[in-house]
Symmetry: C2
Subunit: 337 residues, 2 copies
């Protein structure tokens, strides 16, 4: 089976200079993938003419889109005015079954709105959520929602738990992922009313439920899936990114203070590099908009070619792991209970 990815070549902070080199690397390493390259055709063709190895020619196809959604554009305005944009086109391609998944580094708000209106959610799923794999000590952990829904009721959190569990199985192969509900303490009596009610819903289902977990448990690999509302998830994700940035700035500062520190930095370089690579957020780039009838993968807007390539791999994995058919098969059974 060939996996067909629709790639928004114009999205993100950089567009073609980032997206197309990533596609070339992907095709070179994943022989079961072909790409629909969506964007301003003349520009894509010009780049490919110079840079695409001849052996890959048969695995790419160009799809013209005359418009580009800008990173700062208002999502609903863009939806009205930019139906011939690369973002709209990739959504249509997956919706119509011409691609198995689509990938874009475009503006998150626009991505959500386009996906919601062009693709739509499954029955019984009220809202799509954003799910990503975050690196922890011994394995990547699936966390959702990361910001699609800033106000949630208990059934939404339950739906996130179901979708996160199925996505984790598709991506990692774990058959019954352990699900944790993010809370202020492990005990049942702790937390706000939404979380308490959600815990009951998850406990009554077939999911492998660990129970409530605390913030500190996210990174110690205690569970496979972390469920929270989009307000908390977005703040935890961004504060973690900020904390890592602060620590790495401070570490750099210490290693450049005086000649001895610089010497130590030189000696330690291979060790520090190995450490950095382990938690390089670029290696974990790619978030899935779960709950939609098609596979939509979002890349960080500021991704470089290496990071964008990872989001393409993530999309291919979700297709190989049959995430969508798992989800479709489970929704009625689990949620309609």
């Amino acid at each position: 089976m060939t996996i067909r990815l629709a790639v928004d070549c114009m999205g993100g902070d950089y567009g073609i200079p980032v997206t197309l080199p990533a596609v070339v690397n992907l095709l070179d390493t994943s022989l079961d993938v072909s790409c629909l390259l969506v964007g301003v055709e003349s520009k894509i063709a010009a780049w490919l003419d110079v840079n695409l190895p001849h052996r890959l020619l048969s695995r790419v196809q160009l799809v013209n889109a005359s418009q580009v959604v800008q990173m700062d554009e208002l999502p609903r305005v863009a939806l009205r005015q930019k139906r011939d944009s690369s973002l709209a086109k990739v959504m249509e391609l997956v919706r119509d079954g011409k691609a198995d998944a689509c990938v874009s580094a475009g503006n998150t708000g626009a991505l959500m709105v386009f996906a919601y209106f062009i693709i739509k959610t499954f029955n019984l799923i009220e809202r799509p959520a954003i799910a990503t794999m975050i690196p922890t000590l011994s394995k990547p952990v699936c966390m959702l929602d990361l910001g699609a829904n800033v106000e949630c009721r208990a059934p939404h959190l339950f739906q996130f738990a179901v979708m996160g569990s199925l996505l984790t199985t598709a991506i990692t192969g774990i058959t019954s992922p352990l699900v944790g509900l993010l809370n202020v303490g492990g005990e049942e009596i702790k937390g706000n009313s939404v979380v308490k009610e959600a815990a009951q819903l998850i406990r009554r289902s077939d999911l492998n439920f660990y129970g409530s977990i605390e913030g500190s448990d996210i990174f110690d690999s205690a569970v496979d899936v972390v469920v929270c509302d989009g307000f908390v998830g977005n703040i935890v994700l961004k504060s973690s990114e900020g904390l890592v940035r602060m620590l790495s700035t401070a570490l750099k500062r210490e290693f450049t203070r005086g000649w001895y520190s610089k010497l130590a930095a030189g000696v330690s370089y291979p060790v520090l590099k190995r450490f950095r690579n382990q938690f390089d957020h670029r290696s974990h780039n790619g978030a899935c908009l779960v709950g939609l009838r098609s596979l939509v993968i979002k890349s960080h807007g500021s991704a470089d070619a290496y990071a964008f390539e990872q989001s393409l791999h993530y999309a291919a994995k979700a297709v190989r792991g049959r995430f969508l058919s798992r989800l479709e098969g489970s929704i009625a059974k689990v949620l309609d209970g």
Copy 2:
């Protein structure tokens, strides 16, 4: 003026072996402080007989308390059954004006309940909040609430903003601290309804309001005060602690992998130690229960003597900075306005 601290000598995971050495160090370095040592008198006296330098004798006073609240005790049960505990006694001492602040490493739930019922909150302040200073790149930032209130309405967040601002002035000397409201984006239209309404309340007040901040802004020193509800605050604080623990475990692992890494570790030791000290959470131990009519400072239960000493210094600073009278003076003006 002498600052009188009431110290719960029995609280925390270790009790006397941690609390009393911390008191001795505090008295040696802070000449304007004296301590009321509260707990089982015979045990405290036995320790002091051996370890207290004679020159400090006049600055300590023993207060007997026959009971100890255990770390896993249910708060409301303890409140009924342990009125002669060291925790109850320190609260009574500050309430009755016999101490300027009290410090305990006891169980957080019990601390909150005892403080709420024995000391009570100021008029117009509905709920106490937990506030602490967290280390960021260029300065400590005051963050609240860290877990006292898992469900908040907009007026609560506004009250936290007022209290956090006054506490920051008392602790750091900054006259008009910049207040940020933790949210999922900087724009006014983002966030849940509680946060949006709270932003309006804060904007209409005299506070120096930065606006909404994202999680990543916490650690880049963009503001002096970070306001959030206790559910989000607790999860952010604990996930940050977990993340730091994970990174330091991984760093240790890399520096002990093979002979070259071990050599690099030896060479880099002084640099890494300087780095670690900078963000040592022990140096920032101590959280203030703001909103109460007296100063109550909570230490981490697992604090060692150095960390517990920092919470005593924090208490002394809050007294010197006249946090309580600032708060009392502002409440009616700001909140009743």
